[in-house]
Symmetry: C2
Subunit: 157 residues, 2 copies
């Protein structure tokens, strides 16, 4: 079933964080620069009328040898249940794609300023989608208690 | 800045809708089958403890010649503003990646049953991430009025 497909980064993250860490991402400001060879100023036009953007990015600092394809304890914490890689959001995952909703600070031509993007400097960006409330979860949201613990300091203290 | 990267589908959508249409997706039930060559039952373990899953998929039915890299009127409706491809969620976009939050109906080994996935039958799947409330938008959400109009019948009547 599985032929490989090519994706091409549309741009790159310029950020202040150069090392991968697990927590305290929400104060991070970053700029996404669209590739000048592919895009002009029109590609981001109107994104400033949305409060948030979903950024899809390639976590290229992840060592392919560490990619998990089965189950593991999130963050190797044995007090949390061993769950499948597709039941957690850890970075060592097949295809190494991150998807994060962050705040739009502003658009300057091919440059998009954001806050709360959990991607390190020089990360390749694959797509940008405006956050649309109707595209959020429909119906009641439920998640297991361990996830709340894990997320406690992900964005802030 | 832009070397191409390979991604490999982790699985495929089995759905009842075989043609791309714009609206009324929320009643659609679909099953995502993980590729047996790459995964066993453990990869989805615990996903049933979440109410929703974010599905990243490759919209491979999109004609590459139709991919928009600048600005256009969403759905070619001239009553809506001409905005950049990254300020809308239309399918004719660079890298053709879809990202949709849908309901988890159940996990059966390598098979994940979902509702409200706006992907047609045989669509390649790139990633599955549990929906985590803390990964939603932080702070007040704002979007332009045209998007509310566009979404009016996207999920249901």
């Amino acid at each position: 079933m599985n032929g490989s497909e090519l994706v091409s980064p549309i741009g790159v993250v310029h950020g202040t964080r150069t090392e991968v860490r697990d927590d305290l991402w929400d104060a991070e400001r970053a700029t996404i620069e669209l590739d000048a060879a592919q895009f002009d100023d029109s590609a981001l036009r109107g994104l400033e009328t949305f409060s948030h953007v979903e950024v899809l990015f390639l976590m290229d600092r992840v060592d392919p040898a560490k990619i998990e394809r089965g189950a593991r304890h999130p963050r190797n914490e044995t007090r949390w249940p061993e769950v499948g890689i597709f039941a957690q959001r850890g970075k060592n995952r097949p295809n190494r794609i991150g998807a994060t909703v962050c705040r739009v600070l502003g658009v300057r031509g091919r440059f998009l300023d954001v806050q709360g993007l959990d991607a390190v400097d020089r990360t390749p960006v694959l797509d940008l989608k405006p956050w649309v409330a109707a595209f959020g979860p429909r119906g009641e949201v439920r998640e297991p208690p361990w996830m709340g613990e894990l997320m406690r300091h992900y964005w802030d203290e």
